[in-house]
């Protein structure tokens, strides 16, 4: 414990000295996030510095081993670092699917060579990754995917199409589920492949969402050649890697819901609730639900750390968190009334409320729909029979 307090003091003073003041203010929009990459776009010098300084200490991935570019911190130390960052409202220095998704998969399933090759680049924010899972005919039924990787002796030849590839147009590499055995039962012929988005034959096309945002792409593979050593885990056993990763994704998405539920929604909407007694009632109930869910999130994280969480509990968190977030934005829209309907006006900051509200509708679809999560809970936690 004494060591931990020493670490806390040290961390605090390092952060004090190294976290630029601009990086202690909340992001104004998603676009203020730092994603790194081969040709990184920094919004400010402060942003660049902050990422770089954190990466140098391995603190973009504090709990990864030092050998792979991580900070080598213990769980307790990691928690202290997070607390100290939260204390000064320090921004996340690096948003990255490499950190949140590919990294954990590589740490568990990668060869030593793969870890050495890919993890440090991720930690330093030098390569931006995207995820190639869904296909037009493989949504909730992900394992029915059809993108094919043919074994051509010295390389894989990839053909097919992915959809919902977040930021595929901005990513450097992709981790991708492909079918390597079309004769095997659908879960047994899938492999987990990594390749460079700059490879010949890769093309992307952004998908415009109803919110007007366009973070997703359709991604096309036309005779893309991929070196043989870029499969993670065993060939035809990619589904295991994917399942492991989906768990992580759910945790991340369920965690995202929390960001918005810090304070009382009713307090934020206060003036709007006067003279609207029924909306006030809904908001009061929402605040009950949101504070209760916040307690649940703390409990879930505590149980995760202690290894006490049910392995399917992320499904419950993902389900409840995303439904709650949708409910929150419905209430925000109701409180905003006609003001919140304006789509482009300055007053509405370009329709911010409406666009965010529409964006939340995807929460219960992406990363496994609410229906999929409920099915997992029913089967794996409640042990209900059949389907």
């Amino acid at each position: 414990m004494a060591d931990l307090e020493a670490f806390r003091a040290e961390t605090r003073s390092w952060l004090e000295a190294n976290c630029p003041p601009e990086m202690r203010e909340p992001m104004k929009s998603e676009e203020d996030a730092c994603w790194g990459g081969r040709n990184p776009v920094f919004k400010s010098e402060a942003q660049r510095q902050w990422m770089k300084r954190m990466a140098e200490r391995g603190w973009t991935v504090p709990d990864w081993p030092r050998d792979y570019g991580g900070g080598g911190l213990s769980p307790a130390e990691t928690k202290v670092l997070r607390q100290e960052m939260a204390r000064i409202n320090a921004r996340n220095p690096l948003y990255s699917f490499g950190i949140s998704m590919l990294g954990p998969a590589l740490l568990k399933y990668g060869t030593e060579a793969q870890k050495k090759r890919f993890l440090p680049e991720i930690a330093r924010g030098e390569i931006r990754w995207c995820q190639g899972y869904s296909e037009p005919n493989a949504g909730s039924d992900l394992a029915s995917l059809q993108t094919k990787a043919e074994d051509n002796g010295d390389h894989w030849l990839v053909n097919g199409q992915k959809v919902w590839t977040s930021y595929a147009d901005k990513a450097d590499w992709i981790f991708c589920l492909v079918r390597t055995d079309s004769q095997a039962p659908k879960h047994k012929g899938i492999s987990f492949l990594l390749f460079d988005m700059a490879s010949p034959g890769v093309s992307t096309k952004p998908i415009l969402l109803i919110s007007g945002y366009s973070p997703f792409c359709e991604t096309f593979f036309d005779d893309v050649k991929v070196p043989k050593d870029q499969v993670v885990g065993e060939v035809n056993k990619g589904w295991d890697v994917a399942k492991y990763l989906l768990g992580h994704e759910r945790e991340m998405i369920s965690g995202m819901g929390l960001g918005g539920t810090g304070g009382s929604l009713g307090t934020a909407l206060k003036e709007r609730l006067e003279g609207d007694p029924i909306l006030r009632a809904d908001v009061a109930r929402f605040d009950v639900d949101a504070m209760a869910f916040k307690a649940m999130s703390e409990k879930f994280i505590d149980e995760l750390k202690a290894g006490q969480a049910h392995p399917a509990q992320p499904s419950m968190m993902k389900y409840a968190g995303t439904e709650l977030n949708k409910a929150r934005h419905e209430l925000v829209m109701a409180a905003g009334g006609a003001d919140a309907l304006e789509w482009e006006s300055e007053l509405s900051r370009g329709g911010k409320a409406a666009r965010e509200w529409l964006r939340t509708k995807a929460n219960s679809i992406e990363g496994g729909t609410s229906e999929i999560q409920l099915g997992i809970i029913a089967k794996r936690i409640l042990d209900l029979p059949g389907a």
Binding site: I207, I210, D276, G337, S370
Partner: protein, 367 residues
């Protein structure tokens, strides 16, 4: 009156359904005007076609050259408008404004243009983000034979394309409704695109002078106009909900996952069946409100609140279930279901949201 459509009404429905599905379709109307960023948000040619079809004259007295029909018939057209998300001035001009002009000296000035699908009206009631017609701050002061109007309005649908604006203002004896021409001095109009790509307006009335004829009516008339507008919006929402539900049920019958049509999954079946049930109820409530309005019943007021509240909640349920059941593609701009979600949101706010109407109903019932 039995609570279903008469033969004549069923014929009108078939006509309106065919017309809107062909001439008013999403691809050729809503998307077209939206994608060209049209300043009106609707097409004038289609509006003239509305005139040719006789739709614009549904509520106009026969003596004035209209069809002399009632709220049920107006609702029939609005339901088809809702089903196709057809952008048009019908609700505000052919329902609310025609109701306002009934018996007014301005009939001759505006009805011919409305009948032809040329004139466009606006109805300016709201002054804040929520519909609160009981607390109008805009003032109308007598000056000479006329009035001077001062105040601000917002969420004035088609306000930027309107030839005249019906505006609610407060006089000493209570609220009243005035007709103001678009080029009146002291009137400033700023068009704003809304989420469903219709155009609303913010308006400023800075000592706008109007003559005596501009007063189209007092509180009673304002209330009557609002009842017509709210019931019409309820019908349009029933249409939106029907369109969204039909599209979704069709999708459930076609999309395969896990080797089955997703419509075979019982959880989705039950939710779709619940939605159907709610939608039938909303449709009945709306029709009942229209019949009571038609009869001039004292119970119409309450039933209008019920219709607007119920249709609003059901329409929201329909679009939410619609997007969720479509999954990922439901989130894309390319598919229409998201357009239903946007339209629903605007119609829910228009002339009072379900919370407002439930609250008014409660007050009417003494609690």
């Amino acid at each position: 009156m039995p609570l279903y459509l008469t033969e004549d009404q069923a014929m009108l429905r078939d006509t309106a359904r065919d017309f809107m599905a062909s001439e008013g379709a999403i691809a050729t109307q809503l998307r077209k005007w939206r994608d060209m960023n049209c300043k009106d948000g609707f097409g004038h040619a289609l509006w003239r076609q509305f005139g040719e079809m006789g739709f614009t004259g549904i509520l106009v007295d026969e003596a004035d050259g209209g069809l002399g029909l009632g709220p049920v018939e107006a609702g029939i057209v609005l339901e088809e408008i809702g089903r196709n998300l057809t952008p048009s001035p019908f609700l505000i001009t052919a329902v609310a404004a025609v109701e306002a002009l009934r018996g007014s000296a301005l009939r001759e000035r505006w009805l011919p243009g409305i009948l032809k699908g040329e004139a466009v009206a606006a109805l300016a009631v709201d002054e804040g983000p929520k519909h609160r017609p009981e607390a109008i701050a805009m003032t109308a002061e007598r000056s000479g034979n006329g009035f001077t109007l001062s105040g601000r309005k917002q969420f004035v649908v088609q306000g930027a394309s309107a030839d005249f604006i019906l505006v609610a203002a407060k006089m000493e004896e209570g609220a009243a409704l005035f007709a103001v021409e678009k080029d009146a001095k002291g009137l400033e109009v700023e068009g704003v695109r809304l989420a469903d790509s219709s155009i609303g307006a913010r308006m400023t009335f800075d000592n706008v002078e109007v003559d005596g004829d501009a007063l189209v009516g007092g509180e009673e008339v304002l209330a009557r106009v609002l009842r017509a507008a709210r019931t019409g919006a309820a019908s349009e929402m029933v249409g939106v909900a029907s369109g969204a539900m039909d599209m979704t049920v069709n999708y459930l019958r076609q999309r395969r996952q896990f080797g089955r049509l997703i419509g075979e999954f019982q959880a989705l079946q039950h939710r779709a069946a619940h939605l159907y049930s709610e939608l039938e109820i909303a449709r009945a409530a709306t029709l009942k409100a229209q019949q009571l309005l038609d009869e001039g019943s004292a119970q119409a007021e309450a039933m209008v609140h019920v219709a607007k509240a119920k249709a609003g909640r059901v329409s929201t349920l329909a679009v939410q279930e619609g997007v969720q059941m479509h999954g990922g593609i439901g989130m894309t701009d390319e598919y229409d279901i998201g357009l239903y979600m946007k339209r629903d949101r605007v119609l829910n706010e228009l002339f009072g949201d379900p919370n407002y109407h439930a609250d008014r109903l409660a007050r009417l019932n003494g609690y």
